[in-house]
Amino acid sequence: MKDQLEMIRKEALAKIEEANDLKKLQEIKVTYLGKKGSLTSVLRGMGKLSEEERPVVGEIANKVREAITEEINHKTELLEQAELDAKLESETLDVTLPGRPVEAGGPHLLTSIIEEIEDLFIGMGYEVKEGPEVETDYFNFEAMNMPKGHPARDMQDTFYITNELLLRTHTSPVQARTMQQYGGAKPVKMICPGKVYRRDTDDATHSHQFTQIEGLYVDKNVRLSDLKGTLDKFAKSIFGNDREIRLRPSFFPFTEPSVEMDISCKVCKGAGCSVCKHSGWIEILGGGMVHPDVLEMAGYDSKVYTGFAFGMGPDRIAMLKYGIDDIRHFYTNDKRFLTQFHHAQGGAQ
């Protein structure tokens, strides 16, 4: 009987070895281990054995069963793996074909620039203020030290609605509005982005609608050097650490002294080239110390409080930063323009 068992083992293992699919393997399992299988029938004959032989043969039989089972399991695993491999192989894709497009949208370039500047100043402790686009003559001009008939009104050609209402020509009225809101009693630290309007014929460098960001800092002991330091931080953050700034005297009715800020030309690094009209510098923004009349009109005692203010044009900044040659692109919304600025920006170096 031992021999019989050994024969079954050999025969089964050989067949398992030969088997090349799972079905065959299942048949082998039934043939040897099933209820009517050869091993079972051998074991059924155990009753005929002696008391001494029975456990010995029993043990051998169990070992044979285990060996066959183990081999079948092993082979099953192998075959399953092979089958899976073959299936997966057959599922191979051409990875070079394009994927299903996920067309993400994105911000308008001016929004990106404005938010970048907002975040910079928020980091320096500024709040963001907003004001109406249809302004009163009072806030747009008078509170900004440009009474009716003031020659400086010519600097900003205005869209009037009535004698008293107009489309704001700058974001500066928000200075007066904010100071009035604060009632002349506490420091003001704000920036204000927004749309502004001027009577200009639209061309590559002019737009009757554009954007501005106003900045205002009013406190005790604010100095012109503080404006210089603040603008230097701004310029380096937006345009890059390798850029220098320069302040020049200028004139705005609502600041005194007034300044114009230039940054060193990116292309020639100050040596002079066609981009900077051979001056080495590019004009970026205007600012100055808040005029005492503006402080007084808004309820601040100009003997106690001083302040600085500045105003910049995100359109111009965007054009300089990216070399955009036509301001109308910002408002035409050509998809081929808009999508150019949907990539992650990450700020200046």
Partner: protein, 808 residues
């Protein structure tokens, strides 16, 4: 203002300073120099020649054969100019000479005769056509008789003069004169200013015997000086004066006109010369014009005046609009012999008013508007008389006759050194300040660290401490200011909730695949009453209108963002960019009057337009067109993101597809709409099938809350049941859904529509709508019986209310 450096050198020594350096320093000190131009491009080899003879060319009617003496040479030159004659001194480009545009002069043969050079016009020497005096515009330039033969024309015609173009800010009216520029230059380079010659030799005859002067409104006209110049000979002004005028961008006319223009530029004081014999009386009366009074100005236009305008009259009728333009009837002619020369101070705002009323702007009005120097008015008159004596042979009568109530006092500004430093963040010493004041040629008294400055009247822009702070700072140099940051107490910056929300909404839409745009707030008539959101359409709104629009395209303030967005869409689709998914966050302007007395309400809108394909995966032939449900899905997603419950209601709006438009409601309040643009409007605007949404951000802001409470994640299993109802086609699927939610409450947690079917196997006029219900009890495991009970209730309710039955 164009500043000729050769001219400037007469008042301040700038010989050793390069134009570039001058330009750079002036810019840094406060007057922006826009550019450096030269009067003409470089020439070489052009000298003065004497035309010894001039005969007609043997073979050509229109050419002259000239023998020209250039000192060291005698040249035969053929000239085509109509004005060339024997005895003239002319500009001769000798063989080898180079004219502008690199035009090289060579010996040539013209119609068989040799020509050894060229006789030049001013244009050929590089002078801009518009500045060339009319007497030599059609031919060659002729030099005065006393010109030296052989001399290079470059210097004689001032061709090498560099001209700085100033971009002046309105406060620096002082720099609208050569003398003002001289003071500025002297301050920068620490030099002296030399004043021009004002001496005259008045006759014994007195001006007062010829004229009287009355100013009826001294506030508008505090000073009027009338000079009388007799025996005037109208002719060309001297070459040097013509050269300077050309460099300054003014075309020379004749000596009298040129002298008034020259002194205007030199002193910044406008002058006016009347023909005394045509003046019409012997008295000057200045007064306010009568309403509707008329005057014919020099340009031949009749102007209608108002009481706010100041006029010069002869006691009867206006002869000039003060400070702006003279009248045609008193103009100086070639036969004028006696001149009444006006040098006056006119109130800036009166001149400003006249300019804005008439639209006339002149070199005179520009200066009066900004305020001329009261201490230079009479001096300018004297200077002009000096020049008239010298260059027009005039006899100046003793005078002038003047009306004079002018305040010539200097303003004083008092300050301490510390106040300057406190505002600048600097440590400038009192000594440095006194040096700066000396450079500016301001007189002052100093006691230790205290200053009392007497501001010269030429600097009308300086009156308060802050003005002096700027003066000191700009001469000290802005580049020497330190970089500091404010020392005030630190403060937390940040965005308001609305500002944060706006950013988040933009991010949502961008992630959903929409691009942000910015369109114009001003629109044309076609754009104003289109696509108004229902909550706005029901108000009695009038589009706010500009009082003086520049064009019909930008006349009204928009009432909807959508027309502008559709224009952007049309722009793109006309350029083969058909797939557009845009949004904009921007204001519309609400008012009940087109010329409102108060500021219109600014209503922030969130609007979008979508058209073309949404998905285009070409090699798999997967394409999805933008449709109603895509736009609705985006809007639903937005409100889900904002956690604001929202409902949609079928609605009809002009310019929207009548069957594909929904009002968006928050808490039963209309918050906007969405749907398909009406095909007729699509056709008008030349756009493809398009969908739009427009939401009222103010309603969204109001509905938004930040209190998000944690809800436990369910511990017990949920059960899903599907159910399909067959109903009449016109029943709204959403209404059934609402009823299922109501009837199934509280166990039904979610109802989703997963199939809508019409057609085969269904009776005519019926449709099947299938819903997937999610049952969930947060407290315990659901029992089948509970679900069954609820399910039956839903079926019964829906069947009863919608005349429905369950599809088996």
């Amino acid at each position: 203002m164009f500043v000729s450096l050769n001219w400037l050198n007469n008042y301040v020594d700038i010989q050793s300073i390069k134009p570039e350096e001058l330009s750079d320093k002036i810019t840094k000190t406060g007057i922006e120099v826009d550019g450096i131009e030269y009067v003409a491009e470089k020439t070489s080899g052009v000298v003065v020649g004497y035309v010894e003879s001039c005969e007609q060319h043997p073979n050509a009617d229109k050419l002259q054969l000239c023998q020209v003496n250039t000192g060291d040479d005698k040249l035969q030159i053929i000239c085509g100019a109509p004005n060339v004659t024997q005895g003239q001194k002319v500009a001769v480009a000798k063989p080898g000479a180079v004219l502008p545009n690199n035009f090289k002069i060579k010996k040539v043969k013209l119609r068989g005769v040799e020509s050894n050079g060229m006789i030049c016009s001013l244009q050929e020497l590089g002078i801009d056509e518009k500045y060339v005096p009319s007497d030599v515009a059609e031919g060659i330039f002729v030099f005065p008789e006393d010109t030296t033969i052989g001399e290079s024309v470059e210097k004689l015609l001032n061709l090498d003069d560099a001209v700085l173009e100033f971009d002046l800010t309105p406060n620096r009216a002082d720099a609208l004169s050569m003398l003002g520029v001289a003071y500025e230059t002297a301050a920068i380079f620490d030099e002296e200013v030399t004043f021009p010659d004002e001496t005259i030799h008045p006759s014994e005859e007195k001006a007062e015997d010829y004229i009287t002067v009355t100013a009826e409104d001294p506030e508008l006209n505090p000073y009027y000086g009338a000079f009388i110049a007799k025996n005037v000979e109208i002719k060309q002004s001297p070459l040097w004066m013509r050269n300077y005028l050309i460099a300054a961008g003014i075309r020379p006319i004749n000596n009298v006109v040129d002298i008034t223009n020259y002194v205007l530029l030199e002193y910044g004081q406008p002058l006016h010369a009347f023909d005394y014999d045509r003046f019409g009386s012997d008295k000057v009366v200045t007064r306010r014009a009568l309403d509707n009074e008329k005057i014919m100005t020099l340009d031949g236009e009749e102007r209608t005046l108002t009481n706010e305008n100041l006029v010069i009259t002869n006691g009867k009728e206006p002869v000039a609009l003060a400070g702006v333009m003279g009248g045609a009837n008193t103009e100086v002619y070639s036969d004028t012999a006696t001149i009444l020369l006006e040098s006056a101070y006119f109130n800036p705002s009166a001149v400003r008013k006249a300019v804005s009323d008439t639209g006339l702007r002149s070199d005179s009005s520009t200066r009066f508007e900004k305020g001329v120097d009261p201490n230079r008015v009479e001096r300018a008159g004297l200077r002009a008389c000096h020049l008239l004596e010298k260059y027009a042979g005039a006899t100046i009568l003793a005078g002038p006759v003047s009306f004079d109530e002018m305040d010539r006092g200097e303003k004083t500004v008092t300050f301490a050194t510390e106040e300057i430093n406190k505002r600048l963040g600097t440590a400038i010493t009192s000594e440095e300040i006194s040096t700066i004041l000396n450079k500016l040629q301001f007189s002052f008294e100093q006691e230790n660290d205290s200053f009392v400055v007497h501001v010269p009247t030429r600097r009308g822009d300086i009156s308060i401490l802050e003005d002096m702070v700027e003066e000191v700072a700009r001469i000290y140099g802005y580049e020497h200011l330190p970089y500091t940051l404010p020392e005030g107490s630190p403060q937390a910056g940040g965005l308001t909730q609305k500002q944060k929300l706006k950013r988040e909404i933009k991010k949502y839409l961008q992630s959903a695949g929409l691009m942000e745009t910015i369109t114009y707030s001003l629109t044309d008539e076609a754009g104003i009453n289109k696509l108004l959101s229902p909550e706005l359409a029901k108000k009695a709104l009038e589009p706010v209108q500009l009082s003086m629009p520049m064009s019909e395209d930008h006349r009204y303030l928009r009432l909807s963002v959508l027309p502008g967005l559709l224009k952007s869409l049309a722009h793109n689709q006309a350029r083969s960019q058909t797939d557009i998914h845009y949004f904009e966050l921007g204001n519309v302007f609400l008012s009940e009057e087109s010329q409102p007395s108060n500021q219109p309400e600014e209503n922030l809108r969130l609007a979008g337009v979508l058209s073309g394909l949404w998905l285009n995966h070409s090699w798999q032939q997967e394409k999805r067109k933008v449709d109603f449900y895509l736009v609705k899905g985006i809007v639903e997603g937005l409100f889900d993101f904002l956690n604001i419950p929202v409902t949609f209601e079928q609605t009809k709006l002009a310019d929207m597809h009548p069957g594909r438009c929904a009002a968006v409601l928050i808490d039963n309040q209309v918050a906007g709409f969405l749907g398909q643009v009406h095909p007729k409007l699509e056709k008008t605007m030349d756009i493809k099938e398009s969908y739009a949404f427009d939401l009222n951000m103010e309603v969204i802001f109001d509905a938004f809350t930040t209190d998000t409470d944690y809800r436990p994640v369910p511990k017990y299993p949920s059960i899903a049941r599907d159910i399909a109802f067959i109903v009449n086609e016109d029943v709204k699927a959403g209404e059934i859904k609402d009823m299922i939610e109501e009837a199934g409450s509280p166990l039904v947690k979610n109802v989703r529509i997963f199939d809508v079917y019409k057609g085969e196997n269904l009776p005519e006029g019926k449709k099947s709508v299938a819903y997937s219900l999610l049952y969930q009890d947060l407290e315990k495991t659901l029992k089948d019986a509970e679900v069954e009970e609820s399910y039956q209730k839903i079926v019964d309710t829906v069947n009863r209310n919608f005349n429905a039955y369950v599809r088996s």
